[in-house]
C-alpha cells in the first residue's frame, strides 16, 4: 500500500502516452541535459569520496590522535542533518559572502560540493569495519620482507578493502543521483546548466506535466534498482570470499 502501489502508478503513468510518448519525454533536450549532468556530477562526487573517504577511514582506524571519537561521530552528521540545512550551510561558506573567497553559488562546482557533503559517510562507514577485521600482522610481515609502504597498500590493504570501497561507492552514487534537498538552494536550478534530474522532475510536476515527470522518474527508478542489484552482488561476492579463506 505504501511502497508498491505508488510505484506501480508511477510506471503506469509514464507509459500512458505509449512507448513513443515515454521516449519523447525522456529524450527532450532539457531532460537529457538534466540526466547527463546528474550522472556526471554524481559519479565525480562518489569517486572523490571513494578516495577521501578511504583515507578518512584509514586515519580513523589506524591513526591515533586526540579527539578521534568526536571526529568519528561527526562522520554521521550528513545522515542526521536535514539536507536543506546542509545546502544552506554550504551556500553560506562557499557562496557570495564566503569568508575564504570561494563563490561557487549556482555553479556545477556547488552541486559537486553538496553531493560530497551528503555522500560523505557511505565509503567511510563501509571501509571502516573491513579495516578493523584486517590483520595488521600481514602488513607487518610484508614490511619486514622489505616492501615499501605503497607496495604494502597496493598488494595487501587495497585488495582486501576493495569490495568495501566499491559497495560504499555504489551507495554514494545512488544517493547522489536522487539528491534534491541540498541542491535546491545551492544549484540555482538553471535549465541546461545546473538543473539536476530530481529538480527537473519537481519542476515538471509543479508546471503540470506529470507524464514528463513520471518518465524521467522511471529512469531514476531503474538506476536505483540497478544499484541495489549491484550492491547485493558485491555483498554476495564479499561473503563468498570470506568463506573461502
Amino acid at each position: 500500500m505504501v511502497v508498491a502501489l505508488p510505484i506501480a502508478a508511477l510506471v503506469w503513468s509514464s507509459t500512458k502516452g505509449g512507448g513513443s510518448g515515454f521516449w519523447a519525454a525522456v529524450s527532450s533536450p532539457e531532460a537529457v541535459a538534466a540526466l547527463k549532468l546528474t550522472l556526471a556530477v554524481a559519479a565525480l562526487a562518489a569517486l572523490t569520496n571513494a578516495l577521501l573517504g578511504t583515507i578518512t577511514a584509514w586515519v580513523l582506524i589506524r591513526d591515533d590522535f586526540r579527539g578521534k571519537p568526536i571526529v568519528n561521530a561527526a562522520i554521521d552528521l550528513p545522515f542526521a542533518l536535514p539536507t536543506i540545512v546542509a545546502g544552506l550551510l554550504l551556500l553560506t561558506f562557499y557562496g557570495p559572502r564566503s569568508p575564504v573567497g570561494v563563490d561557487a553559488a549556482y555553479t556545477r562546482t556547488a552541486i559537486w560540493l553538496a553531493l560530497l557533503f551528503v555522500t560523505l559517510p557511505f565509503v567511510v562507514r563501509t571501509v571502516q569495519p573491513v579495516l578493523i577485521e584486517l590483520d595488521v600482522e600481514m602488513e607487518e610481515a610484508a614490511r619486514s620482507l622489505g616492501a615499501r609502504p605503497l607496495v604494502v597498500f597496493r598488494r595487501i590493504v587495497l585488495p582486501n578493502i576493495l569490495p568495501g570501497i566499491l559497495s560504499g561507492l555504489t551507495l554514494a552514487f545512488a544517493r547522489a543521483v536522487g539528491e534534491i534537498g541540498s541542491l535546491v538552494l545551492v544549484s540555482g536550478n538553471l535549465p541546461y546548466r545546473t538543473e539536476v534530474a530530481s529538480v527537473f522532475i519537481f519542476n515538471q510536476l509543479q508546471s503540470g506535466n506529470p507524464h514528463g515527470a513520471a518518465a524521467v522518474a522511471v529512469v531514476l527508478l531503474a538506476i536505483s534498482f540497478a544499484v541495489l542489484l549491484g550492491v547485493g552482488g558485491l555483498r554476495r561476492r564479499a561473503t563468498r570470499h570470506d568463506c573461502g579463506r
Binding site: 505508488p6 502508478a9 542526521a80 513520471a214
Partner: protein
C-alpha cells in the same frame, strides 16, 4: 611517520572544509549578527506551526515504521513463504530511491488524475505523514535483520518447547535481544523524518501555516531573503541532528555488545 601525519592532515582538512567550517560559520554569523532577529523568527507563528507539522509527522511515522520494521524483519529472517526475497529487496527500495520519485509516485497515485483520487492526501497533513513514512520505512528493518540472523532461533525454539505461546516468546525472548537494534533504527528513522524535504515538497503544497514543515520553512525563508529566519530554523534542526548523533554514539556500543 610523515606519510601517516600527511594522511591525517588530508582527512581532517577535508572534514573541516566540508562539515565543520560551514556549520561553524552559520553558528557564528547567527550568534554574532542576527541573534535578535533569529530569536524572533523562531517565535513567529508560521515557524512554530511548521515545527508542529514536522513533529506530528515524526510522531506518527516513527512508531508506525518501528512496528512495521520489526514485523518485516521477523518475516524476512524467520518466515518461510514465497516472495521473501522480493520483500527483502522491496524494503530497501526507499533507501536507494530519490525522494522526488517517491513524491511523484504518491502524487500520481492519489492526485487528481491518479488511481485513488477519492482519498484526499495531497496538500494536507495526511500527505506529509504518508510521504515521511515512505522515505523512512527501511531503517528499523535494516538494523533488526542482521541482529535477528546473528542471535539465531535456538532460544526461541527452547521457549517454544517449554510451552510458551508465540506472543510470549516474542515479548520475553526475541524483543529483549533485539531491543538495541530497534532503538538504533528508531533514532535513524527519527533523523530521516525530521529532515525529509524532497518527497514532502512534492505532496504538501507548501502552504504557510498549514502544510509547511520545518525543512520547507527553511527554503521559504531563504528565498524570501529572510536570512536570519532561515539560519534560525536551520540551527534548530541542526541541534536536533546533533542530539541524534549523541544518541547514536550512545546506542551503538550497546548494540555491538548485545
Amino acid at each position: 611517520m610523515a606519510a601517516r601525519l600527511g594522511l591525517r592532515l588530508v582527512a581532517l582538512f577535508y572534514l573541516a572544509a566540508i562539515l565543520v567550517a560551514p556549520l561553524g560559520l552559520v553558528c557564528y554569523r547567527t550568534c554574532a549578527h542576527d541573534a535578535g532577529a533569529a530569536w524572533a523568527a523562531l517565535h513567529a507563528h508560521a515557524t512554530v506551526h511548521a515545527f508542529r507539522v514536522t513533529l506530528v509527522a515524526v510522531a506518527i511515522a516513527v512508531p508506525v515504521n518501528a512496528v512495521f520494521g520489526v514485523v518485516c524483519a521477523l518475516a524476512i529472517v524467520r518466515g518461510r513463504f514465497p516472495g521473501r526475497g522480493f520483500l527483502n529487496a522491496f524494503v530497501d527500495l526507499p533507501l536507494a530511491l530519490s525522494p522526488v520519485v517517491v513524491g511523484a509516485a504518491l502524487l500520481l497515485l492519489y492526485g487528481r488524475n491518479g488511481w485513488l483520487p477519492g482519498v484526499h492526501v495531497l496538500f494536507s497533513l495526511r500527505g506529509i505523514v504518508l510521504a515521511t513514512t515512505f522515505v523512512s520505512l527501511p531503517f528499523v528493518a535494516r538494523e533488526v535483520v542482521p541482529t535477528l540472523r546473528e542471535i539465531g532461533d535456538e532460544q526461541e525454539q527452547a521457549a517454544h518447547t517449554l510451552g510458551a505461546s508465540g506472543w510470549q516468546t516474542f515479548w520475553r525472548v526475541t524483543l529483549p535481544s533485539i531491543r538495541w537494534a530497534v532503538v538504533y533504527g528508531v533514532v535513524l528513522t527519527t533523523a530521516r523524518c525530521l529532515g525529509e524535504y524532497g518527497a514532502v515538497a512534492v505532496v504538501s503544497g507548501n502552504i504557510e501555516g498549514r502544510t509547511q514543515t520545518a525543512t520547507l520553512a527553511v527554503q521559504d525563508a531563504y528565498e524570501n531573503l529572510d536570512r536570519a529566519g532561515a539560519y534560525a530554523i536551520s540551527l534548530a534542526l541542526a541541534l536536533g541532528a546533533v542530539l541524534v548523533l549523541v544518541a547514536m554514539s550512545l546506542v551503538r556500543p550497546r548494540e555491538a555488545r548485545s
